[in-house]
């Protein structure tokens, strides 16, 4: 999907418009872009000199709008009569389209302009999942923060926000210092002899080796919190 330098609207290509509104190719005039402004519930046709009444009628029909006048180039088509539910559904459709197209820029632009306070918590969760599928964790985090702001008692939103929150780092004085240097030295010294094998080390001393991680786990047992390094020698 094409993107332009806009921060308040999504700009769609001819192909996107045809797909979203179920229009035939020749129903829409050629244009550099079609701007869908979710915030103002409107559609603006950019750089079009041949946008015909027939096309608008198709849009009109699609949106059940009451536009009756032919549209001139750069005419602003209002969808003010539409219900908030229609707009929400449309916004989510645009978001899904951007996500499916793997278009992070478009997705981010849409996330910025969508008024999330009017959406449902499940819409937000859906948008967060879309952002994560796009491998855009910072967008997902922003969405989760908005979710917490608008739906502070929603347990799913709170869980997601906690998981995606910015990490916190704290210095702690070690009670028992792990001898990571000795472990590293053992690996360096024994690299050739144990190459490809899994080893369990404690403070630079070999506990056991195995061909597989499972082999180590079976022999050593629970390694959690015991300062035992389990690694494969490479």
């Amino acid at each position: 999907m094409a993107t332009h330098d806009v921060d308040s609207a999504a700009v769609l290509t001819h192909q996107d418009m045809c797909r979203l509104f179920d229009l035939d190719d020749d129903d829409l005039p050629t244009s550099n872009g079609y701007m869908i402004d979710i915030w103002n519930s409107s559609c603006t046709v950019a750089d079009s000199t041949t946008f015909q009444h027939k096309s608008i009628k198709r849009l009109e029909s699609d949106w059940q709008n009451e536009i009756t006048q032919p549209v001139q180039p750069h005419t602003h088509v209002s969808f003010k009569d539409r219900t908030s539910s229609d707009i929400d559904n449309y916004a989510m459709t645009l978001l899904e389209t951007a996500a499916l197209a793997q278009d992070k820029m478009e997705f981010q632009a849409l996330v910025k302009v969508i008024p999330w306070s009017t959406f449902t918590p499940s819409d937000l969760v859906k948008a967060i999942r879309m952002a994560l599928a796009l491998e855009a964790p910072l967008i997902a985090r922003k969405l989760a923060e908005q979710g917490q702001k608008y739906f502070p008692t929603h347990s799913e939103i709170n869980k997601i926000a906690r998981i995606l929150a910015a990490p916190t780092a704290k210095s702690v004085r070690p009670t028992t210092r792990l001898d990571v240097k000795a472990n590293k030295l053992w690996i360096t010294t024994n690299r050739e002899a144990y190459k490809g094998k899994w080893v369990a080390l404690h403070d630079g001393k070999l506990i056991i080796s195995s061909q597989t991680f499972s082999g180590i786990a079976a022999k050593v047992g629970d390694i959690k919190g015991k300062g035992i390094l389990v690694t494969q020698v490479t």
Partner: protein
């Protein structure tokens, strides 16, 4: 000796040795650090291109991660393979050889068990978003030292 800023403020509160060698089936050298993920000491690759800390699929069993506390069924591409797994909030400890350890409350991705074979025997990855993004870190390639501290 730990690092300070030009003003004399502490930049890094801890230092640990790292290995500079290839990981499995990889010809490029990686910065491989010993870290405790969920209390389990492992070697992990510092990977600023990764959006999370990424652990091998068998980790959920070892650490005892509870899927009820996870954001489940998230798609994520690991080394070109489309996997699916859970996101958790897990403690990652950077043990120091000198100075203080660093405790990071991090976002961790663990692929589902069905990806165990596809994962192979790669180590864990320490990613930028969800972990490194909120800590100070610096590398001394002369001595293979990794410096860290809270931001």
């Amino acid at each position: 000796m730990l690092l300070t800023t030009a003003d004399g403020d502490i930049f890094a509160t801890g230092r640990a040795p790292y290995s500079y060698r290839p990981a499995i089936k990889d010809i490029s050298n990686r910065i491989i650090l010993q870290v405790e993920i969920g209390g389990v000491l492992v070697e992990a690759i510092i990977d600023t291109g990764s959006p999370y800390v990424v652990c091998p699929p068998y980790f959920s069993e070892i650490i005892g991660l509870d899927s009820a506390s996870a954001l489940e069924s998230i798609p994520f591409k690991v080394r070109g393979i489309d996997m699916r797994g859970n996101l958790y909030r897990v403690n990652v400890l950077f043990p120091a050889e000198e100075g203080d350890d660093l405790n990071v409350d991090a976002t961790v991705f663990v692929p589902d068990q069905e990806w165990r074979e596809a994962w192979g025997e790669q180590p864990a990855f320490i990613g930028l978003t969800g972990c490194l993004e909120r800590m100070r870190f610096a590398v001394d390639p002369e001595n293979d030292h990794f410096y860290f501290g809270p931001s």
